[in-house]
């Protein structure tokens, strides 16, 4: 809502206040003022001039040389290129030295050899936004009304000293969609007087036209009022009215349209004028639902298909408008119009909302109807418009105000307990203070036994229950006047759950290990990454009904695709090392069409690509590989107290068949680790790329971060190295498992320190070397004891792994 300060002043006493004062007070009490701006955006030295004569320019066909009287001794010689300039017009003239919006200054200059002592301005050059200008005004110079005086500053003529407050209204405050509504609010907030227009009910003086209204459904249209005015002369509306409409962001059209718009902004009641001569049955109006397939051509020239949800205004023979949304082209006011039937009504807000959405037609009128207009102001608004038509369009009243009122307007009384008010606000107000707030709001009130019985005016449909009144009192008392305290009452410990703590541990561990956390979108494309296996693959992706693009049309079932895209994005930006992870939900269902919420699973996914360590002078450059990623996971598992992790070679789709493992703990698969298949990597412009995916729920189940302390042994350890030759395809994991099996409780640790193949080892063989540390808790082991165990290990490995000691 754009509020002209000059216009507002007509309805509420603003004496001694500035627009800034009013804006601040409104904002602090709940009607936020976004900005205040002045209509004048930098005009100096532009005055009203009269075009005395126009001559063709001797050198240029499209230019005219005009003699313009600007109220000085001598008329000015001005060259003008506008097609519409004509003798006798009053026009805005930028004098020598004038400034125009955008920092333009006007100088005396020669145009094609003819001197020009100023410039005749268009509305655009004076800073008018296109929105408020007609096509005609956008193309030519501005022509001012006849009554203005030559030599006057145009800013005065065009109302440009006015300031406009732009309100950012919350949806509950539709009462402030009118100047009168804003006036009530300002009056309440700043304790000022309101001054409302009081139009008279004008009666026909001569012949009378009968208006006959029929409303089919009282729910759709509980109130419909109309009055007929004839003898109209269509022309421009007075300049002051145009100025105010422009301040409100509305384009002036002609006096009839302007008056209906003016009253809408003033009263919040949209009005519509039908050309009576275009109606088939005189003053007959029938309000009814459309029949399926019925069509109507609206004012904008578009033929609209209606259905049974559309409410139509008809003349008893044909539709003449879509109620509350847009009038019909067949009954439109034109320059030839002399008689109009003026409509003011209350239409059902849900119907208007649905219709305007469905047709994609949202207007100042529909915006007000869909939030419910004030039923008490419908008739006064109609009377006000009729009054203005008689004053500014030559109108003569030829019918009474005819009303079809179906159902009564309920008077609403809401009670507020003083005790409850104190309780909710946490501050003790005096009864006098509360009564004073209701006085400022102009809410009639009676107090009885600590209860305020408040009669809520119809202009405030947002107030229906006790807590609504508490808010009214609080906002006028001032939120800043309520003292802050900390909650008392029963204390609760607060904190994170075990799972929430584990997620923090995982994030912090991974970041310490050099991984960057990323957050990507949950919505993705059904194709992206569909060639890559995922740990939660069952079911099908869930599609949103109205995606904004195919790229964001389904919920992700895996975190990997966006992680891969992120890697690609960064490598394309010359990042040499990509080490990223994401913790987020994936979404799964088995249903074709959802009837219940899908399963949301917490997953962790990681990716390594590019170099494994940043380029440096000490270490040779090496690419991220499977073992670099596995090292990160092993550190993470250690931090989470997850031991006995097995890696089993698997060959899922999209992964390198020889470099992928599923991760198994206690017989349960908790994730996958592997290199992306080179073909898949290539599709995303990636080199060797390691990814992993873990099921967080499974991690929660096996994580064990409690510590059971064991004192370290005080006895010395014995270290024995073991160099073995085994078949090349024997998995090293098996060797280690068998060592542990055979070595018994004295084995403190086993570390693989060398793996190699080569001629000296033999075809199809590899050498693996371990360092075994033996130690007993209670005594020093003798050489013989260690030898015995170590030999047992060697024998066991020979039997189970075909391992030979390397010579």
């Amino acid at each position: 809502m754009l509020v002209s300060y000059e216009w507002l002043n007509e309805y509420v006493d603003l004496e001694g206040l500035t627009p800034e004062d009013v804006a601040h007070a409104l904002t602090q009490s709940g009607v936020a003022v976004d900005v205040i701006y002045t209509r004048d955006t930098g005009i100096r030295n532009v005055v009203v001039g009269k075009v005395l004569s126009t001559e063709p320019h001797p050198q240029a066909d499209r230019l005219k040389v005009c003699l313009v009287d600007v109220g000085k001794d001598e008329p000015l010689n001005i060259v003008c290129g506008a097609a519409n300039v004509a003798e006798g017009q009053l026009v805005p003239v930028a004098l020598e030295g004038a400034s125009l919006p955008g920092g333009v200054t006007i100088k005396r200059t020669k145009l094609r050899g003819v001197e020009s002592q100023g410039m005749i301005c268009s509305a655009k050059e004076l800073g008018f936004p296109d929105k408020v200008l007609s096509k005609h005004q956008r193309e030519g110079i501005m022509v001012l009304p006849d009554e203005v005086e030559i030599g006057t500053d145009v800013r005065t003529v065009l109302g440009m000293h006015d300031q406009v407050l732009e309100l950012d209204l919350t949806p509950n405050r539709s009462d402030c969609l009118s100047m009168i509504g804003v006036a009530y609010e300002v009056a309440a907030v700043l304790d000022r007087e309101v001054r409302l227009p009081e139009p008279e009910a004008l009666e026909p003086t001569g012949d009378e036209i009968r208006v006959d209204i029929m409303v089919e459904s009282e729910e759709d249209c509980p109130l419909y009022a109309a009055q007929v005015v004839d003898n109209l002369k269509v022309g421009p509306s007075p300049q002051w009215m145009q100025n105010r409409l422009i301040s409100a962001g509305i384009r002036p059209v002609n006096n009839i349209v302007d008056i209906t718009n003016y009253v809408m902004i003033e009263c919040g009641q949209p009005l519509h004028a039908f050309d009576l001569d275009k109606l088939s049955n005189g003053g007959r109006i029938v309000v009814r639902r459309a029949r399926n397939g019925e069509t109507i051509e609206t004012l904008d020239g578009v033929t609209r298909a209606c259905d049974e949800e559309t409410l139509l205004i008809t003349d008893g023979s044909k539709p003449i408008g879509i109620a509350g949304v847009m009038g019909g082209a067949n009954s439109e006011v034109s320059e030839k119009t002399t008689r109009v039937l003026l409509e003011a009504a209350f239409f059902s807000p849900p119907i208007i909302r649905r219709t305007s959405r469905k047709l994609g037609l949202r207007s100042e009128a529909s915006n007000r109807f869909e939030k419910a207009v004030d039923p008490e102001r419908i008739i006064p608004a109609l009377q006000r418009a009729v009054e203005l038509l008689t004053l500014y369009a030559g109108g003569r009243v030829v019918s009474r105000v005819t009303t079809e009122r179906v159902g009564d307007i309920d008077e609403l009384t809401v009670s507020l307990r003083h005790e409850r008010l104190t309780h909710v606000l946490g501050v003790k107000l005096k009864e006098k203070q509360v009564l004073d707030i209701f006085r400022r709001l102009r809410f009639p009130v009676e107090v009885k036994d600590g209860v305020y019985h408040v009669q809520v005016p119809t202009r405030r449909p947002d107030i229906a229950i006790e807590v609504d009144l508490i808010e009214e009192v609080a906002r006028l008392y001032g939120y800043d006047n309520i003292p802050p305290t900390l909650p008392w009452g029963q204390q609760s410990p607060g904190g994170l759950t075990r799972e929430q703590l584990l997620v923090r541990v995982i994030r912090n561990t991974l970041r310490t290990l050099g991984m960057h956390e990323v957050i990507t979108y949950s919505l993705t494309s059904p194709e992206l990454g569909s060639e890559i296996a995922s740990i939660n693959q069952a079911g099908q992706p869930i599609r949103v009904a109205m995606p904004m693009s195919e790229e964001r049309s389904v919920l992700r079932t895996s975190l990997l695709p966006h992680l891969i895209e992120t890697a690609s994005y960064n490598l394309k930006r010359q990042q040499e090392r990509v080490a990223i992870f994401e913790i987020g939900k994936t979404f799964h269902t088995h249903e074709k069409k959802l009837t219940d919420l899908p399963e949301e699973r917490w997953e962790l996914a990681g990716l390594l690509a590019g170099k494994s360590v940043p380029t440096n002078w000490r270490q040779p450059s090496s690419s991220s590989d499977f073992y670099a990623s596995k090292g990160v996971l092993e550190a993470l598992f250690t931090r989470l107290g997850i031991h006995n992790v097995e890696y089993r070679a698997v060959q899922p789709v999209g992964f390198h068949p020889g470099r992928t493992a599923e991760i198994v703990v206690d017989g349960r698969v908790i994730g996958i680790l592997g290199q992306l298949h080179p073909q898949v990597a290539q599709q995303y412009d990636l080199g060797p790329t390691m990814v992993c995916q873990l099921d967080l729920e499974a991690i929660f189940a096996v994580a064990q971060t409690d510590v059971h302390f064991e004192p370290p042994s005080r006895h010395p350890a014995v270290t024995r190295d073991l160099a073995l030759v085994v078949d090349q395809d024997l998995l090293v994991g098996k060797v280690e498992k068998e060592i542990k099996k055979a070595a018994g409780e004295w084995l403190e640790s086993v570390t693989l320190f060398d793996v190699f193949t080569g001629e000296q080892i033999g075809e199809g063989k590899k050498s693996v070397a371990y360092s075994l540390v033996y130690r007993a808790k209670d005594r020093t082991l003798t050489d013989e004891e260690v030898n015995r165990v170590h030999q047992a290990v060697i024998d066991h490995l020979a039997a189970t792994c075909g391992a030979q000691l390397r010579q």
Partner: protein, 344 residues
């Protein structure tokens, strides 16, 4: 004999002083003082001396031995010191060369902000709740006092999957889920961070996916004054004591009275600038007293219990706190951006 001893002493002294390294010195020690050394050799002739001369020469020989041992030790120390000095000199390195990199990762800035907010509220006795991102219309709207025809809900603004299931547009449904789970018990003190979705075109200030943190307190006698106290305590911990805060009435369907909290603009300190639209104030969160309809729908008697709720946009807080001017940075995950949060 005396002459021979004196000569030997002079010769040895000269040789020791001239020694260039520890090895030479070791040989000299053997040569002059060893069992088969020259001093011993001279003393072997003592038998030929008279009884008067023997103690005199013996003492002289002993003095010479002591003198030579002393200068040998001195020379040894000197040579050792020189050797150490040489070694240290040789071992000198360029301390300005960079260390071996141990690359550090980072938390995503949104995670960092969520954790900071969580920590502050945990300190005030709050629990952290979670809720589904795919939500029922009833929880997302109806239970929050937004029936089907409510102006504030628009099919166009939400990602619906079916008529009754959608991607949640706010974290507020978790209020209702939390209350239902508590089954009428008090106190309820929770915050809930989470992803939310709206049908907005992505640009510098809009994102179809973003993050909110919801808060809820329900108990007997909870008042607006406590709401203000809680939010001020939070904001001062989060942003520091240097800022001013104000509260303005606002509107949310699920709270009444409702409010917005503003902070004096970080960029201009309240003077007015482009960022705060010349007002000097920046909106940081929305809040209010839980609407009685929401309490009743969640199984709480609204006469007996009152509550407050608040919600904030995590991206907005992060943008203000770190001076980020485009919301898309949170979702492009450019490592050059993420690395700036290694210290957060």
């Amino acid at each position: 004999m005396r002459e021979r001893l004196e000569a030997l002493k002079a010769e040895a002294e000269q040789a020791i002083q001239g020694a260039k390294d520890l090895e030479t010195l070791k040989q000299l020690r053997v040569k002059y003082l060893g069992k088969k050394g020259e001093l011993t050799a001279v003393l072997r002739g003592m038998g030929e001396l008279s009884a008067e001369e023997r103690p005199v020469i013996g003492k002289l020989a002993n003095d010479i031995r002591q003198t030579l041992e002393r200068i040998l030790d001195e020379k040894e120390s000197a040579l050792e010191a020189a050797a150490m000095e040489a070694r240290l000199k040789e071992e000198t390195i360029d301390v300005t060369l960079p260390g071996v990199p141990r690359p550090l990762g980072s938390l995503h800035p949104l995670t960092a902000v969520i954790q900071q907010v969580e920590n502050i509220f945990i300190g005030m006795g709050f629990e952290v709740a979670e809720g589904p991102e795919v939500e029922k219309d009833w929880y997302n709207f109806e239970a929050l006092n937004m029936p089907k025809d409510h102006p504030a809900r628009d099919m166009q603004d939400s990602f619906y999957i079916t008529r009754e299931i959608l991607l949640r547009t706010q974290t507020s449904p978790v209020q209702v889920r939390t209350l239902q789970a508590k089954e009428g018990k008090v106190p309820v003190r929770m915050i809930c961070p989470g992803k939310v979705y709206r049908r907005d075109d992505d640009d510098a200030t809009h994102s179809h996916q973003f993050t909110q943190i919801e808060g809820l307190v329900v108990d007997r006698g909870v008042s607006m004054s406590e709401l203000k106290g809680t939010l001020l305590a939070f904001a001062k911990r989060m942003f520091g004591e240097d800022y001013e805060f104000r509260f303005r009435p606002s509107y949310f369907p699920f709270t009444e009275p409702s409010m917005e909290m503003d902070m004096s603009c970080m960029a201009c300190g309240g003077e007015g600038c482009r960022i705060c639209k010349e007002t000097g104030w920046i909106e940081i969160l929305g809040a209010g007293m839980v609407h009685p309809n929401v309490l009743e729908k969640s199984g709480y008697n609204a006469e007996r219990y009152t509550g407050f709720a608040f919600g904030m946009g995590v991206e907005r807080i992060a943008m203000l706190k770190y001076g980020i001017d485009d919301i898309r940075y949170f979702y492009t995950n450019d490592l050059r951006v993420l690395r700036q949060f290694q210290s957060v």
